[in-house]
């Protein structure tokens, strides 16, 4: 019987074996991601940076905090490929060590912001009405305060530490995740498959986690990849103000800001940390873009 075209009953033998190959969703995502050359390049850079961060003690040619006044403000040379700073510390070693803190702060802060912001946005968008209004007005309040001042206030209240720095940066990023997720949740909630989920007895929590959030992944990923960059910069700004990472710990943002005063005589002090940040941001953006596409089953070839 020709089952494909509408006659009713398929042959009933060996049905499980007949299924097309089981492909786990993540394998499927990876398969699609692999085809996107730019995304693979971005991912490779990100992975490379993570490896560098993990292997910092092995890779760094010098102790990042070893000062040497005689060697201060040296330009790039064979001995110090990226030069030395105003205390004579090796810039390459500091950038390698700095990747540890910067990447850590970037990812964790974005994680905090995206998870909580995403959930708040999904709840607001799904339920609508007063709850939505309440959540979004709270987000508006957070938005109304300049991000950096908000983060300063939070660190001020919680005390200075790496964890508090990440929490502060995360909270200051909450509203943007809440807003983009809410916007997509509003469209997703009107879809019939959400109604269908309710008709088969799915609870609200299940619908939000299994239907709403997966269908809001695209904007969350795009926001997050952009967010990592901003989190690194915010953390740097806070460190600069003495509210985050304390000197002499190497960190890209604080290196960037302390290099500022030598911009004329030693531009490489700002150039290389800046380049490092740009590379991370660019790589994450390209990777995020590809990831978003490959997470969408509709774009599958």
């Amino acid at each position: 019987m020709n089952n494909e075209n509408g006659t009713l009953f398929a042959p009933s033998s060996g049905r499980t074996k007949e299924r097309e190959k089981r492909r786990s969703p993540w394998w499927e995502v990876w398969r699609r991601l692999r085809r996107n050359k730019a995304a693979v390049a971005g991912m490779s850079v990100v992975i490379l940076l993570v490896v560098v961060a993990v292997l910092a003690p092995v890779l760094a040619p010098y102790d990042p905090n070893q000062t040497n006044i005689k060697m201060r403000l040296q330009g790039p040379s064979s001995e110090h490929p990226l030069g030395t700073d105003n205390f004579g510390r090796d810039m390459l070693s500091r950038i390698i060590y700095g990747s540890r803190i910067s990447l850590y702060v970037g990812f964790v802060a974005v994680g905090i912001g995206a998870v909580f912001g995403g959930i708040l946005g999904a709840i607001g968008g799904y339920y609508g009405g007063r709850l939505d209004n309440f959540i979004m007005r709270c987000m508006d309040v957070l938005l109304a305060i300049p991000q950096i001042i908000l983060a300063i206030a939070i660190v001020g209240a919680l005390g200075t530490s790496l964890l508090n720095l990440m929490i502060a940066v995360g909270i200051s990023q909450l509203p943007r995740y809440a807003r983009v997720v809410r916007a997509s949740a509003l469209t997703v909630r009107g879809q019939e498959y959400v109604e269908a989920a309710r008709a088969v007895g799915a609870s609200d929590a299940r619908i939000i986690l299994e239907n709403i959030l997966p269908n809001c992944m695209a904007p969350i990923i795009v926001q997050s990849t952009l967010g990592v960059a901003q989190a690194i910069l915010s953390a740097a700004a806070l460190s600069f103000l003495g509210l985050g990472i304390q000197p002499p710990t190497a960190e890209w943002g604080s290196m960037l800001s302390s290099g500022r005063q030598f911009l004329r005589n030693a531009p490489y002090l700002t150039f290389f940390p800046g380049l490092a940040i740009s590379v991370v941001v660019l790589a994450l953006n390209i990777f995020g873009d590809g990831l978003r596409d490959s997470l969408d089953p509709k774009l599958r070839q």
Partner: protein
């Protein structure tokens, strides 16, 4: 056969800025076990809303919905959750009714998972069986909705509705988004399933020729009210309400030489926010009398279970 579903004075108003949309306004009907009630009417007459009210996807403003004699309009959350096993819905649009990020197998197995039926392995077996039952090859288990055509997607929607072995299914225009050639397949499938699984349907549609085939009784809705309700064949042979006659006249007949008396309505549907006084149809009715704009005609039996709400029909 006893009534499986009995609806009494069902009302649903949607509050909007300009007032209340009278989507469903004092509707009563009953569906016997194993039978199909066809609910027809034009867009916006409240037929889909009625279907969703019945399985409480939206909350009624007032009225009673009796399922096997139990009032479910006022049922609490726990009872409602259990009722989901009994009453299901098949949606109109096979494209938006399936989650694009879930495989076919996941979508069909989700209700089983929610109600904690069997182990994961057993559920997969059940999904395979369901897919066969609706004429889908189980090898499509890991396919995504966008990889299937409309007819097969609608079969997935049907399999999902059947997964909990319900007794009552609201079919909300299940074929109107499909090609004509696929429509017949899906209608046949629904009829076969009705026989094998002893299902009761509320079949919502705007297409009389579709409803004619599948229904035991047909109710015609206009602006939130039932204007005529009768056994299926009787409605076609002895149409009483002028609105039903206009609907019937609009069904195309594939014959070139046949001259028909056209029964064409003038004007458009009045606003459901401020429905006309008296008989809601009087603004467009060719038989309009004085009494029509003053008094609302009750839905009364004209013999043989043929109910009509019209002052003119005696």
């Amino acid at each position: 056969m006893a009534d499986l579903i009995k609806v009494e004075n069902l009302v649903k108003y949607f509050p909007v800025a300009a007032g209340n949309v009278h989507a469903v306004d004092d509707v009563s009907f009953a569906i016997k076990e194993g039978e199909t009630l066809g609910l027809v009417g034009e867009s916006g007459c409240g037929k889909s809303t009625t279907g969703r009210l019945l399985i409480r996807l939206i909350e009624a403003t007032s009225g009673r919905i009796l399922y096997r004699g139990r009032d479910i309009a006022s049922a609490d959350k726990k009872t409602l959750h259990d009722m989901r096993k009994e009453m299901q819905i098949i949606f109109q649009d096979p494209f938006s009714s399936l989650d694009p990020r879930k495989s076919i197998g996941e979508t069909i197995g989700k209700p089983l998972e929610i109600f904690g039926m069997g182990s994961k392995r057993e559920r997969e077996e059940m999904v395979d069986a369901l897919m066969e039952k609706v004429g889908l090859s189980p090898r499509l288990f890991y396919k995504y909705p966008h990889e299937l055509d409309g007819g097969r997607r609608q079969r997935v929607g049907i399999a999902r509705a059947l997964s909990l072995s319900p007794s009552f299914i609201v079919c909300d225009e299940p074929v109107s988004a499909l090609d004509v050639s696929i429509q017949a397949q899906i209608l046949n499938l629904l009829q076969e399933l009705q026989e094998t699984m002893k299902l009761t349907y509320l079949f919502v549609s705007h297409d009389l020729s579709v409803v004619k085939h599948i229904s035991n009784r047909i109710a015609v809705m206009y602006l939130g009210k039932i204007v005529e309700s009768s056994p299926s064949l009787e409605l076609f042979s002895n149409t009483l309400h002028p609105y039903s006659q206009a609907l019937l006249a609009a069904v195309p007949i594939p014959k070139l030489d046949r001259k028909r008396e056209r029964f064409i309505l003038s004007g458009g549907v009045p606003s459901p926010i401020n429905p006309p006084s008296g008989c809601r149809f009087h603004t467009r009715c060719p038989w309009k009398m004085d009494i029509c704009s003053r008094e609302e005609p009750p839905l009364t039996d004209r013999g043989g279970g043929h109910f009509v709400a019209c002052h003119k029909v005696k």
